[in-house]
Symmetry: C2
Subunit: 492 residues, 2 copies
């Protein structure tokens, strides 16, 4: 059937085409079926949605990944991709081999799988787990598509955190120390998707973070390090696709997490990596056992891929540092580099840098590099190389003007700080989109507190957003205060 | 955030809203997140797609299930539905209890789950199976939503086929015999989705099939039976939703199949059901073992729901009857009822009717009811009650004018007829949309054949469709002919 294309500006996750109900019936296809599209320059696959009005009979609506199609196209039913058989196999708990995993990754890369199918894959991996072999094949296959950076050096350091802990902004500190010690550390980071800030959001307070591969090479050439947003380069495009479906499902299968992290590191040319695994009641990893298993599996997969991996299992029972949100975290980071700042953030940054340097067989004292101001100097040179102001001071960093401080309602000891409530509070205040929005924490787990003491100050750019955050704090428990001898948490 | 609604005519499976990228960022939500919509008459949940052009900043596009929204609506991020936790639990192979299953069904009924989430549920059930308890709870929960028909009688008969076998049009024969025996049998059927005809398509050759619940009651009151399309009444709306995602995934978890069939029967008020389970190399059920397990599980779930179920495991190694496609199957059915017609279709119809009558404790001879013409008389009265011509003859049924007969390429015995190739051939010829399109089979499994003998005649309403079907027959094997002593099928 020949149909006339109509452009539809809709950001669909899979290449979607819109057919009129009558044409769909004529072709014998129904919603979510695939059609093959023949046009002058070649063929493409589209997934069908049906309308009775958005396009007319004889027309075909094309959405984002297909908007290059113009004029008349030939349309016919297309078969299901090969991957679907392998996804069913995974659901039957049959271990997939290298070529089957490669086919799934290729089909994802070429947009041949719908989100519904990808969801079934993620569900299969979550239900039946991934063997070590499967994780290795997945990591390699994912690293093999998209961009790749080669450094031509035996040691390229990197760092990753499993996440889930607000304010945990150690990355700029680790990069500054390691780069100052003479080791290349080209760090790409994410923006906050469900958190109030990613490292990329925090660094954007200081400088440009959207650099392409050539610019990254230049910055690392000048300073040994960089602190950029990974999304500007396509290091593991399939990973981005998988995460987009995992996030709404809240499924994070362990093998897929390992493949996700290590495929990106491999594409970035990293050889030595330290991985921060915080665990706690409201963190992503909730038990020590789980944290140790994840660490062991990271190391095993790394070994098979000739990457040296060290894992640090860390406290995730509450936020790290004082500030939460891009500007507030930027202040914490700058203060630590200047020799001051929140002690927990400082010690964590130094410890992670130490572990990474020792894994790289570099004889350097992280504490000394930070204490001497060399880390600060390197950090300022990275900021300069990324078009920021190298002379920035803490006072230059603007924070939200609309503020409110929440106070403790009773005396006692802080037994728990809820990471997800803290994150949501900062997000409602506007973070990470509003850089100046966020929180300053005034207490932490284990600290004594008296009724009326400040718990957290909320900063926002506007009064409605501040109100929205405050409204949440009235419903959800940011911190739990117990009397020192109290053991009962809740009576149901 | 207040946004102005814009109507978008797009048949989305979940209630989808389209936001401009800037508004989405402002709200801190990304594609596939949920938003709560506040309007004059209440609230609704929408799943977000993002655009930079289909709607402007300040607008919100609303699609089919939400097109009643008009003017200004309040939009804010909405939490994930409770079901998502239970879906994850199922993926962890934890058995779900009654209330958890009920919540999933309710969330599906109220359109609170996206297709991606439903896909994860189906994958979980496929990977980890469903216990007997889960299947029972699922069946009950599915039957409890949507329409329900009460008959106020102790015996209401019904019939179902697992499907996958073209031409298997026993239903009108069974209904005619059972209704003639004085037993109520209000039969709802499907249209062909991936097959060349459903019973509803075949019956539409004779009469109207889109009846509402009141009309069904009238027809059954007059004739004891009816033969209508189930889609016109909402007997198990959640089942329709699940099937729409199962179909493109080609996943058909056993427990879900049982819940799907029995929830519809329960909503239709049926008490005694015969289930036809054909098995064969190219049918839906491929082995005798699998067929027996399915039969046993159907009976067990039925017992717990106070329904009396009998299963007939039948031959599915090739089409039943001669005609395939609505008109051709209608001819077969009418011929059988007139005392002639394809012997396999006749004997299968009589056997299924016998089993059902005996399960209903009705002492009646199905063979006699058919042979005496009483079944034909009842069938004609049903056709009349559904606004058809009761005096229809086989010659009145028009078949496609464009025909081509495929012939055997060698001598031998027909070792295999491929159900899926036969179905696809009829579909390409235009069935079920073109009622007159279809096939006449001239041979079957086990029959001797000589080179040049007719194998199948293809009927279409137009030459291009006929050509399209013929083109398929040149690539795919409709029948496999072996010499009687030959054992090798293929050499690879």
């Amino acid at each position: 059937m020949e149909l006339e294309t109509v452009q539809i500006d809709l950001d669909t996750e899979t290449p979607t085409v819109v057919l009129h109900e009558e044409d769909a019936r004529e072709l014998g296809i129904h919603p979510m079926d695939r059609v093959q599209l023949r046009y002058d320059d070649g063929t493409a696959i589209g997934v069908v949605k049906v309308t009775t009005g958005l396009v007319a009979v004889g027309q075909i609506g094309v959405t984002h990944p297909l908007t290059h199609l113009q004029g008349s196209v030939g349309v016919q039913p297309a078969p299901q991709p090969q991957s679907l058989r392998y996804i069913r196999r995974k659901l039957q708990d049959i271990e997939l081999d290298r070529s089957e995993i490669r086919t799934i990754v290729q089909d994802l890369y070429h947009d041949r799988l719908t989100d519904v199918e990808l969801s079934a894959y993620i569900a299969g991996v979550y239900a039946n787990g991934m063997s070590l072999g499967e994780t290795i094949h997945m990591t390699e296959s994912m690293a093999d598509v998209g961009d790749r950076i080669e450094w031509g050096e035996p040691v390229v350091a990197d760092k990753h955190s499993i996440g889930g802990v607000p304010g945990n902004r150690t990355t700029p500190i680790v990069v500054a120390i390691v780069a100052a010690a003479g080791v290349k550390i080209p760090k790409t980071s994410s923006r906050g998707i469900t958190s109030p800030a990613g490292t990329a959001d925090t660094m954007e307070v200081f400088c440009d973070v959207e650099l392409d591969a050539d610019e990254i090479r230049r910055v690392v050439g000048e300073t040994n390090g960089c602190l950029v947003w990974g999304g500007a380069i396509e290091l593991s495009p399939v990973d981005d696709r998988i995460i987009r479906v995992e996030t709404p499902l809240s499924l994070d299968p362990e093998g897929q997490v390992i493949a996700s992290v290590l495929s990106k590191k491999r594409s970035a040319g990293s050889t030595h990596v330290v991985i921060d695994i915080p665990y706690g009641e409201s963190a992503k990893v909730t038990s020590h056992t789980e944290a140790r298993k994840l660490a062991r599996d990271f190391k095993r997969v790394g070994e098979r891929l000739d990457m040296r991996i060290r894992c640090a299992i860390t406290r995730g029972d509450g936020p790290i540092g004082v500030g939460i949100g891009p500007a507030h975290e930027a202040q914490d980071v700058l203060e630590v580099l200047q020799g001051d700042g929140p002690p927990d953030l400082r010690s964590k940054g130094v410890r992670l840098a130490s572990i990474l340097l020792s894994e790289c067989d570099v004889d350097a004292d992280a504490e000394e590099i930070l204490g001497s101001g060399r880390a600060l100097e390197t950090f300022r040179s990275i900021v300069a190389a990324q078009d920021g102001d190298p002379d920035v001071s803490v006072d230059d960093i603007r924070v939200g003007e609309h503020t409110r401080t929440l106070t403790a309602g009773r005396d006692g000891v802080v037994a728990h700080v809820d990471n997800s409530v803290v994150s949501e509070l900062a997000r409602r205040a506007g973070a990470p989109k509003d850089m100046a929005a966020g929180l300053q924490m005034h207490t932490g787990v284990g600290k004594e507190i008296t009724s009326g003491d400040p718990v957290v100050t909320v900063y926002a750019d506007s009064e409605p957003k501040l109100e929205d955050a405050i409204a949440l704090s009235e419903r959800a428990e940011v911190i739990r205060i117990l009397h020192p001898d109290e053991t009962l948490i809740e009576q149901l």
